[in-house]
């Protein structure tokens, strides 16, 4: 390696390179933020959806399930569960009944706790899951099974 390769040069490249790429990242972030309204279904974020997101969060659903592929891998993907369980024809009813039924009495099967959600909370959660299922995710997941 050349003797001219000094430490101070390496340091300058480190600082210059990092700042350079961070600025590029910021630029892409700005563009993404501008492009999002066309894709993120934010026009459908109602008060119900907002409350539903909180129900989702305060019961730590992400600790077992994935949402748009992120979370734990112990239980099914829920980003598209509204559509998987019938969409506007019965999706809401299925999800609510399912949550109320837990835990299922099947020995050995993975267990979902009973969260004692109120009817209002269940409706909010369904609204949130419906909203999530309508985000443009570039056709992910590959099929309805998630």
């Amino acid at each position: 390696m050349g003797t001219t390769f000094t430490k101070s040069m390496a340091r300058n490249i480190f600082y210059g390179g990092s700042v350079f790429f961070f600025l590029l990242f910021i630029a892409l972030t700005v563009d993404t933020t501008k492009a999002l309204p066309k894709r993120d279904n934010s026009q459908n974020i109602t008060a119900e959806v907002e409350r539903g997101k909180k129900v989702w969060e305060t019961n730590n659903c992400i600790g077992c399930h994935t949402l748009l592929g992120e979370g734990a891998y112990f239980a099914p993907e829920l980003g598209n569960v509204y559509k998987r369980r019938g969409g506007d024809e019965g999706g809401a009813e299925f999800i609510k009944e399912w949550i109320k039924m837990q835990p299922l009495n099947i020995p050995g099967r993975r267990k979902m706790p009973q969260f004692h959600l109120t009817d209002q909370e269940l409706d909010d959660l369904v609204a949130f899951l419906k909203y999530a299922s309508e985000i443009n995710t570039e056709k992910w997941p590959p099929n309805i099974e998630g």
């Binding site: 390496a10 600790g63 985000i135 443009n136 992910w140 099974e145």
Partner: protein, 458 residues
């Protein structure tokens, strides 16, 4: 030990190892729940166990980083720590806050915990890895600030080496990016977008600076190679890390509602992400081969080399396996991700923290290195843990392939739970490997209690 105040590192290291044991125990519980759904239900549901498992990992690594910084900074800056007392106070605050949080997770239903701890004032809970109650998050910020204050004051009045600068930059970045955990918009896409600013920019960004600095420090000590050479390498490695890793965040923006172009940005830059890890492997071996002294602490050298190899395998190779958008389309959110996560965290961060502990702990206990017997036991623990984590990774990869094949790629896709049954054999084998990992960890702890002939402190 050259400086008295380095001694504050000791409780940090002990706490780190203690929490590490907790993490592994909860990992074993979860592993069993994968195949025996009734195990410990409803006492410890899976989501709670997982939260404890991942949060303990983060907290013990933070303890490890802090301990490493408290040990390393006085020696690098050539003066005593600004305030050893503050370091000890911070230690207890962090430990108690961490313990209370874990107890809260285990004893109080999560929704109730959220209510008690002010989640209604500012909702930040219930997002993967950032499940901590608001008060704990604020506590983490306070601890981080007092820690950084202590480190920076020490740095300001002493010698400023490249290693300490890179370390402090990494720690600063850690604190700054954690602030994004307080941002939780109701727009799920934005929420996820900035959630990665904490998670990705930590583990594939600033944490790698910390990793590089710690590794460089230990390598200088155990090989005696010229500081100029090692620090030059350090700069080149962290440069490559950041120029690939920052835009590499894009590999998380494929399917969460962000624009399509991230598939290109993410694929291109994360395809380059293995480079810094490969350089780190070359670096570690190169320095050890060019060593100018035979350091009596062979175990620390082994851990350092292990960091290089396993970080490259876990973060580099296993990351690359599923990082390209067309591949990730099928693997996203499967056990493939879990397999990569396990080996990457172990290889990069667990190994580097133990490297530091392995090097520093004997010195903190008044000797240059442990006795030969103790070192042999420690090396056994390295091999037990490393080989078993590699097998955990392989089994999870197999489970991931089963998932992709039956649930995603097939013309007649099967339902999630049906596919999980098909993969059960791999989950059982993973649990077996996990038990061996625990044996390795117990062996590691045992090595601290083995006496024998030791050399005097350097």
């Amino acid at each position: 030990m050259q400086y008295k105040s380095q001694a504050v590192a000791k409780p940090y290291f002990i706490a780190a190892i203690g929490l590490f044991v907790g993490q592994i125990l909860f990992g074993l519980i979860m592993g069993l729940q994968y195949v025996m759904g009734d195990f410990l239900f409803p006492a410890i549901p899976f989501n709670i166990a997982r939260m404890v498992h991942t949060n303990l990992l983060i907290v013990w690594l933070l303890f490890g980083f802090m301990g490493a910084a408290y040990y390393l900074i006085p020696e690098e800056t050539e003066n005593e720590l600004y305030s050893p007392k503050l370091a000890i106070i911070t230690f207890w605050i962090f430990l108690i806050a961490g313990a209370l949080t874990i107890v809260g997770y285990l004893l109080v239903p999560y929704a109730r915990l959220a209510e008690f701890t002010g989640n209604n004032i500012l909702a930040t809970m219930g997002r993967e890895f950032l499940e901590q109650p608001l008060v704990t998050k604020i506590g983490i910020v306070i601890v981080a600030l007092s820690f950084l204050f202590n480190i920076c004051m020490t740095l300001l009045k002493g010698r400023k080496t490249s290693i300490s600068l890179v370390l402090v930059l990494g720690l600063l970045g850690l604190a700054v990016f954690f602030l994004f955990s307080f941002y939780n918009p109701s727009n799920l896409v934005l929420d996820k977008y900035y959630w990665w600013w904490v998670v990705h920019l930590w583990v594939e960004g600033v944490w790698e600076l910390i990793l590089g600095a710690i590794l460089a420090f230990v390598l200088i000590k155990v090989t005696g190679v010229d500081r100029e050479v090692i620090e030059k390498w350090l700069y080149v490695i962290v440069t490559m890390t950041l120029i690939t890793g920052i835009i590499g965040t894009g590999h998380h923006y494929y399917w969460i509602g962000t624009p399509e172009y991230w598939q290109w940005w993410g694929s291109v830059f994360s395809a380059l992400e293995p480079i810094p890890f490969f350089m780190m492997t070359i670096f570690a071996f190169n320095m050890v081969n060019r060593r100018r002294r035979e350091h009596p602490n062979k175990a620390a050298v082994l851990w350092a080399l292990g960091t290089g190899v396993l970080a490259f395998l876990g973060a580099g190779v296993w990351g690359f396996l599923h990082t390209l958008a067309p591949v990730n389309y099928y693997t996203h959110g499967t056990q493939m991700t879990a397999s990569h996560g396990h080996l990457a965290f172990y290889g990069a961060y667990v190994c580097v923290v133990i490297t530091m502990i392995s090097y520093a702990m004997p010195i903190l206990r008044g000797r240059a290195a442990n006795s030969n017997t103790a070192q042999v036991v420690e090396m056994w623990s390295f091999w037990l843990m490393s080989v078993s984590i590699v097998f955990i990774t392989l089994f999870l990869t197999a489970a991931g392939i089963v998932q992709v094949w039956l649930q995603r790629y097939s013309d007649t896709p099967m339902a999630f739970m049906a596919v999980q049954d098909k993969a059960a054999i791999f989950y059982w084998m993973r649990e077996g490997a996990g038990v061996i990992f625990l044996i390795g960890l117990v062996t590691y702890i045992a090595s601290f209690f083995i006496k024998g002939e030791t050399k005097a402190a350097a």
